[in-house]
């Protein structure tokens, strides 16, 4: 079996949940080799090993830490070449897609983005994607020696399969072309204390119907340990940061439960949440299209319904 490279998202907070999901998929396809661009800690290596990483390669090149895609793609291309990787797996995020596109050009690899499943196939990997706002599923087979696949978070359950990984620090050579972009300023996203939007088991989103007051949405989310999202109307009005936008031009989420509060359910919004396991809608308008896809619909004012439920949940917990 060839090696399968997994680009890890790992930092001081440990290893991201989607990275462990990638490892679970990688084990089906070959020998999982995890690449960490930056420093690792013993704890990170341990977690990766517990999930089946046979090797952990760390690349401590400073230019890679800024997160720019071009040098990252160049580094990964070298490692994929060295290890004769047949598959490179990345988590589907905008940043990783930039890397994946470049890598596919460098390796002349089959490129699949936003996969929801990856299986070994005869001539290469077989992937499944959900397209057109989640209304169709497409199964595709790669016929190239190498496939670069970005996988949506929550597509599989991360499973443990402990091994003792070989840890290695590796060198890469970066060209002038791939380091032509300068970072002038970088402000990390403020921590909210809530789970990461794309990884959360429950997402509670607010739309124009919040009227700009997200307090009820946030309190309800916190009572459920959920992440908070927003519709584009709410983002465009300046009520919530763009990083939390759900939909075609925002994040795609597939949680166990999605709660849409004061959101009408436009196709571009559905594109980002249609594959959620269960959907609940709270909306004043009984005709809102979101009700057509909700497992439970509550026709009512979110500013009274959500606080009442929040209260009941708190009481039940005592």
């Amino acid at each position: 079996m060839g090696s399968v490279i997994v680009l890890a998202e790992a930092g001081e907070q440990g290893v991201s949940k989607p990275t462990l999901e990638l490892l679970t998929l990688a084990r089906r396809l070959g020998e999982p080799v995890v690449v960490v661009l930056g420093e690792t800690t013993g704890e990170v290596v341990q977690t990766l090993g517990r999930h089946g990483a046979t090797a952990v390669l760390t690349v401590a090149e400073p230019a890679l830490q800024e997160g720019l895609p071009a040098p990252r793609a160049e580094a990964l291309a070298q490692l994929a070449g060295d290890r004769q990787a047949s598959v490179v797996l990345l988590t589907s995020t905008p940043d990783a897609k930039d890397v994946a596109g470049r890598l596919a050009v460098r390796l002349t690899a089959a490129l699949v983005t936003d996969a929801i499943d990856v299986q070994p196939g005869e001539g290469g990997v077989v992937t499944r994607q959900s397209v057109f706002a989640g209304s169709w599923t497409v199964e595709a087979a790669s016929t190239a020696d190498v496939a670069v696949v970005t996988v949506k978070p929550n597509s599989v359950e991360a499973e443990e399969a402990p091994v003792e990984p070989a840890v290695e620090t590796v060198q890469v050579t970066l060209s002038e072309t791939s380091t032509a972009v300068r970072v002038l300023e970088s402000s990390p996203k403020a921590a909210t204390g809530r789970p990461e939007l794309t990884e959360a088991a429950i997402v509670v989103s607010g739309g124009r119907g919040t009227g700009g007051d997200f307090a009820a949405v946030e309190a309800f989310a916190d009572a459920l340990g959920a992440a908070v999202g927003a519709s584009r109307a709410a983002v465009d009005s300046g009520w919530y940061p763009h990083a939390y936008q759900i939909g075609q031009t925002g994040k795609t989420v597939s949680p166990q439960l999605y709660v849409a509060a004061g959101i009408s359910g436009a196709i571009q919004h559905r594109a980002g949440m249609q594959t959620s396991r269960a959907v609940v809608a709270v909306n004043k308008d009984p005709e809102a299209p979101i009700f057509e896809m909700a497992d439970l619909g509550v026709v009512g004012d979110l500013h009274t319904v959500l606080p009442a439920v929040t209260e009941q949940l708190r009481d039940a917990r005592g």
């Binding site: 930039d98 596919a104 057109f132 196709i267 909700a294 026709v299 439920v309 039940a316 917990r317």
Partner: protein, 261 residues
Amino acid sequence: MRIVTLVKYVPDATGERGFSEDGTVDREGTDGRLSELDEYAVEQSLRLAEASDDEVEVVALTMGPDDAADAIKKALQIGASSGVHVCDDDIAGSDALGTSLVLAAAIRKLEPDLVITGMASTDGVMGVLPAMLSERLGWPGLTLAHTVELDGRTLTVVRDGDTASQRVQAELPAVLSVTDQSGEPRYPGLKNVMAAKKKKVEEWDLDDLGLEADAVGAAAALTTVRETAPRPPRQAGRVVTDSDGSGAAALTEFLTAGKYV
């Protein structure tokens, strides 16, 4: 200065979209249009042109079937100076690798100072073309910009990444993709619609680009679609109309029964 703006012709997202039997996107059943997200690229090109002291030409470039000429037409109406439509039967069925090969060849031929694209196609939604073009052309790539500044030949943008918001900078020539936060596209006025009719549109085929037929299209694609299936539409479940707290009670019960708490 010359800006090449990439515009894609896509099936309307508000219509019924689906696949034909051969696994390609069904373009018969729905109306096509200029991808809404590419309107932001056209808008940004015009804003940069207007802010510049130089004469700036904005060339709208598309690759696609005959109908894709519509995407060019719309871009010209919004205000692009001229258009190039790359159209060849052998291009049909190209994957992202093939598409980027063709578009990179067309861009090289146009020798622009700057390439501006949308953040993603509204049909494929891969969002990979800008990065692939940057890689193929060997030009710096600044993607997902919501704020764009051009000072001489220095391009500075603000980009909202996954974990950080960054101000990044590079020298032209470069590839830039802009988000739907970069500034609302203008509507084409009647005057521009009339003026667009006189603007020049060139049609290029693979020969014009010096590309071989077997390097692109379905023949060269490294992935083949094996099966497409419509997902069963989500069913409407129970709807409760809230009165005197019945909505909250139903929701609490749903959360408890589903073990979400």
